[in-house]
Symmetry: C3
Subunit: 266 residues, 3 copies
Amino acid sequence: MEYKTILVNRMDGGITLTINRPEQQNSINPDLLKEINHVLDLAVNDPLCKIIVLQGQGGVFCTGMDFNEISGKHDNFTPGQIHENRDSKEVSHSRPYLETIKRFTLIPRIVISVVDGRVMAGGVGLAAASDIVIATPRSQFSLSEALWGLLPSMVTPFLIRRVGFQVAYRMTLTTMPIHAREAYEVHLVDEVTEAPEEVLRRYSLRVSRLDEWTLGNLKQYFRKMWIISNQMEDAAVAETDRLSSEPKVVNNIINFVKYQKFPWSE
Amino acid sequence: MEYKTILVNRMDGGITLTINRPEQQNSINPDLLKEINHVLDLAVNDPLCKIIVLQGQGGVFCTGMDFNEISGKHDNFTPGQIHENRDSKEVSHSRPYLETIKRFTLIPRIVISVVDGRVMAGGVGLAAASDIVIATPRSQFSLSEALWGLLPSMVTPFLIRRVGFQVAYRMTLTTMPIHAREAYEVHLVDEVTEAPEEVLRRYSLRVSRLDEWTLGNLKQYFRKMWIISNQMEDAAVAETDRLSSEPKVVNNIINFVKYQKFPWSE
Amino acid sequence: MEYKTILVNRMDGGITLTINRPEQQNSINPDLLKEINHVLDLAVNDPLCKIIVLQGQGGVFCTGMDFNEISGKHDNFTPGQIHENRDSKEVSHSRPYLETIKRFTLIPRIVISVVDGRVMAGGVGLAAASDIVIATPRSQFSLSEALWGLLPSMVTPFLIRRVGFQVAYRMTLTTMPIHAREAYEVHLVDEVTEAPEEVLRRYSLRVSRLDEWTLGNLKQYFRKMWIISNQMEDAAVAETDRLSSEPKVVNNIINFVKYQKFPWSE
């Protein structure tokens, strides 16, 4: 398969997936989600591929949903038209995004995010839902959604799983970034290092001792021991769909994409 | 409105509420709860008032329920009489207290507690339920309820939301204070600073970019993403009512208020 | 009563229980669980015994289930025979283990684990379910179950209660030990000290002020304020029973006990 949004490399005992949309700041579009899932399929069908490494490049891990694509959908935008489109679910990226990060948490493989640089919005969810997150000291994580009238709805349950309620809430409310060190202290990051390859090698060696059956059991079991439910996930998708089809929110996004105008600078 | 228990000041983009019961150690009585809610009403009806700052004075933030008032209710106290009063719910402060701190977590405004000094019992709940807590280094937090045979029942769900189960449990069981630094590490406090005004200004600037609609969405949404339910809150009120009408507990409180005698020094 | 697996000493206001199976690395067998419960019975029936101290010796707190006993049950082992034994519940140690650590969390007494050295697998559950854990700097905690195809199923709910989801998940997945300092930072340990006796004395003094009725109320109440339910506990027992009767897992254990062969070295 030819990939449009990622680079894929085999490594010993695993596969490395590099998000490759540098001009779009490694933002998420439907192709990226499809291609990530394609790599997950490959991994699941290969008993020798136990580890999936997810990374960015050029100082950017992932910056969340692609605003250009959301804006493009409303190209001949008038408030009235947006209102009419409100029920059209066909354009929603939210369900595929949620299913992708949820899959990280259930697949009988080990998903390791290697973060070097900026992580924003939906990108935080990719990391938060990973089994292990390794980050360089210059990395930083932010949830900017509320500035646009959105919420990190689908990130929230997986972020709370890692950092607890208050830190997830504060990140959402203040929209301020947290740096690698603090991210480590709150367990959003499992290890901070200048040499992610070495740490990755150590984790890989250790987890290579677990077989596929055990990994599957482990992930299924921990799902039962925590508060995330299918209903909570449905609520997450519904909230994203509701907010992202609000005329006010669409307006905020279009103004930014077309005129570089921020909502708070009106 | 003339306030009996608080001082109220307007500031740019918000309102400052200072608990003003210095002779009662800034403890909570029904008037205080009414007046706090009056300020919340003002804020909600003013689109320009986005931030509500809650603070104490003289080195005391708030020391919880006013034992003098509880004691006063049983002025001609004999154990038998207390027993008869047990079902009378009319004097319960517990529901208004719970509804007040719950309201902090749902109101489309930002509630910021600025703590400088002592916080005890129900005062910890005022802080814990706030969106942001800023504290000076000399601040300390303690849950002394168990010493009297009570529990911080209504504080618990909001405290666990911030600090997790074990820290809330340990604070309750040991009744020992934790200091600002530790409170920061466990996320009971969001920032420790010698200059709360500056930190407050920074947060105010940042959150001023969020509109009322987004704040409301955010708070409603996070409520769905965590374990606090209406039933849990009802259980919290019921437990406080049950314990605070126990003759043994009333006796402990009266002995302390009237004779400065501690339960463990009998 | 003569104890086979523990040493019991009275102390002022409490009782000290030392796990005494040095040749079996202080591992857990049915006798140990019975004897721990016997001591809990003694404590509950003695109003003056408020504190139960649980400790190990010789640098080992507790190393989890005794593999020799599991292995011994399948002495004339062939894979087919194991399969036949699968439904036999009579040999399960899982329910008594879960009920023992659950009892720590509900008994109107204060259970304090004093850890000096190694804690593994089910031993981590004994500590995690304790009210207070005091540890020396050389202590370390690990969950090695997944290496054998098992899971720390019954430890998990009580561990998550202390350390949150991610730390419990990472410990299970990586099977790597965490040291006293990190255990303190994640609240698996409440205090790290070179002088556990002094810290123990301080806690004892403080909690001696709480009466039995209050301790019972406190524990019952906190159970309602968190996510552990009877169903979750049943799922924990069922998962342990399921995994520990899998031929593959039994094989791993027998190969280790009889031939010192690790699953990953085949």
